[in-house]
Amino acid sequence: MTTGTQSHHATGVLSPGRAEPPDASGRGWGSVLRRAAASDIPRHILLALGAIVMLAPFAWMVFSSFKPDDEVYSSNLLPRHPTFDAYQRVFDTVPMGRYFLNSVAVTGLIFLGQVLLAVPAAYALARMRFRGSKLALGLVLFATMLPMQVVAVPLYLLFAKAGLLDNRLSMISPFLASAFGVFLLRQFFLGIPQNVLDAARLDGASNWTTVWRIVLPMARPALTAFAVFSIVSHWNDYFWPSLVLSSDNAATVPYGISAFANSESNDFAAQMAAATLAVLPLVVGFLLAQRHFVRGLVLSNTPD
């Protein structure tokens, strides 16, 4: 049932140019336009008021992270004598660099593995007929609706018995088979014209070559959306790391700074500095590529 609506929206990702609302048609005469623009002002004010609430936590976080010790508990929003001391304390106490490297490695390897596994599978499920393909598709749809929380306990037991808790392997392997990735890519592959595939076959291309040389380059819009979805959701993930991690060893940024916040529970400014560092990469990425972010995160937001 959910899938019906999902496919409806998932296909939306793939038709470029639909996400941008068309501008209401203007009337043309300068004075009419100006009056119309003027009538927008109350709405801009309303939106700005809401924006203050939406952005207040970010402002409070950044400003507080630059406060020196003696200003931390003052009610002023802005620091009077801004300093990097809090950042210094974060770097002196925890290996922030390692957290970032771990996050980059974990999210990067998950995405790479997901693409390597999902692209051929999605192609086979979209364009080839074989015994058991209906069952395989059914399993994929079932898995897209399965929340991580439901499989977390058996997976935790599996890694605990194998002695692989607190290890990069346990951080990466559960996410390598992305049912959602297969679902999204399959939708896209269904739309590729048959004559493109026939031409490849006539040129003697094997299935393997067709998938990576011909189909994959065509799938860039779907792949970009999936990349944003995968990277952002695993960069931000806190649930699974909080189950399997217990040291700095394989700690990703959300886990690392949360552990830091628990151990330095009174150092408010340093916690804000750690949070600022954690939020910065995604916020910068989002501001640089907000169109891709919006597409990847909204049109493909389903339980992973």
């Binding site: 049932m1 959910t2 609506t5 939306g12 639909r18 941008e20 609302p21 209401a24 203007g26 709405r43 801009h44 939106l47 809401g50 609430v53 939406m54 409070w60 976080m61 596994l117 051929p120 192609y123 080839m128 007929r129 074989f130 399993l139 898995a143 399965l146 929340p147 929380q149 439901v150 499989v151 977390a152 306990v153 058996p154 997976l155 935790y156 037991l157 392997s173 559960p174 088979a177 299935n207 952002v232 960069w235 806190y238 940024v253 959300p254 949360s258 916040a261 916690q271 750690a274 949070a275 954690a278 939020v279 916020v283 989002f286 501001l287 907000q290 919006v294 995160l297 909204v298 339980p303």
Partner: protein, 286 residues
């Protein structure tokens, strides 16, 4: 032959890390299998009796449902209102969309730490503004205010998602219909009620169902702002799953909570689709 080579590796991983674990949840719930070592022992329905009868689970279930009741309607209604406002302005649509979407794109674990301090008694931003105005202070230590506080953060985080969904829904309303309504002399309210709202039916169903599913799984804010407290007043199913299954190493108990969580998500989604899903989806098609 070729198809199995293309599909095989993916299906192998899917089987090992999703399908088999999902199926084994039921088996694990029937066993007593100590993590430290030792053989598994069949215990039948003991774990179900122990967990389903516990006050912790009842509280977690009630809190999870309350949390969804607090957040989903607020996210949907505010999301629609903000999207309508953004859609109606001539300039700056992308700018406002970016602003409202920012919380959804940021790391919730980090922002939970920030919100925890915003709720800090007296000195936090909330107590020094809202608290001063309305006299409601010290939210996170108050067992009746802690869940609303966590829900507030949930609304803040999910709102941008709904805004963007509704904006793309509004962009797909045929301009010809709106123009026709305008020529017929329909005012802004009539244009919304008779043209835009029916066309938004499928978007609304999608927004409600998806934000309910993510509300029923709420974890990060609870784990980092309140750890389920005070006295269990913010414990949710996902958090109880972690607390019992991992923190107290009660694997079979954790498995029972997984089943309860899955059943809750499926039941609530089903009820939503039955009660208003079909009606709103059809409204969109008419």
């Amino acid at each position: 032959m070729g198809a199995y080579v293309l599909c095989g590796p993916f299906l192998l991983f899917l089987g090992v890390f999703s399908v088999l674990p999902a199926a084994s949840t039921v088996v694990l719930a029937l066993l007593d299998w100590p993590l430290a070592g030792g053989n598994a022992r069949f215990t039948g329905l003991d774990s179900f009796r122990r967990v389903l009868g516990s006050e912790e689970l009842r509280q977690a279930l009630v809190n999870t449902l309350l949390y969804s009741l607090f957040t989903v309607p607020a996210v949907t209604v505010l999301g629609l209102l903000i999207a309508l406002t953004i859609h109606s302005v001539r300039r700056g649509k992308v700018f406002w969309r970016t602003v409202y979407f920012l919380p959804f794109a940021s790391t919730l674990a980090a922002m939970s730490i920030v919100w925890k301090w915003m709720f800090y008694p007296e000195r936090g931003l909330i107590d020094s503004t809202v608290g001063q105005l309305f006299g409601v202070t010290n939210w996170l230590s108050d067992s009746s205010l802690a869940l609303p506080a966590v829900a507030l953060v949930g609304v803040w985080h999910q709102l941008g998602y709904a805004v963007v969904l509704f904006l793309s829904g509004l962009a797909n309303v045929p301009t010809a219909h709106l123009e026709a309504a305008r020529l017929d002399g329909a005012n802004a309210w009539h244009r919304f009620w008779h043209v835009q709202w029916p066309a938004l039916g499928p978007t609304t169903v999608f927004a409600v169902v998806i934000s309910t599913i993510s509300a029923l799984r709420v974890y990060d804010t609870v784990a980092l702002m309140t750890e389920g407290g005070p006295v269990g007043s913010t414990s949710t199913l996902s958090y109880e799953l972690y607390r019992r299954g991992v923190f107290y190493q009660d694997i079979s108990g954790g498995a029972v909570i997984s089943i309860v969580l899955l059943a809750t998500v499926m039941l609530v989604t089903l009820v939503q689709m039955r009660s208003f899903g079909r009606r709103l989806s059809e409204a969109g098609a008419r």
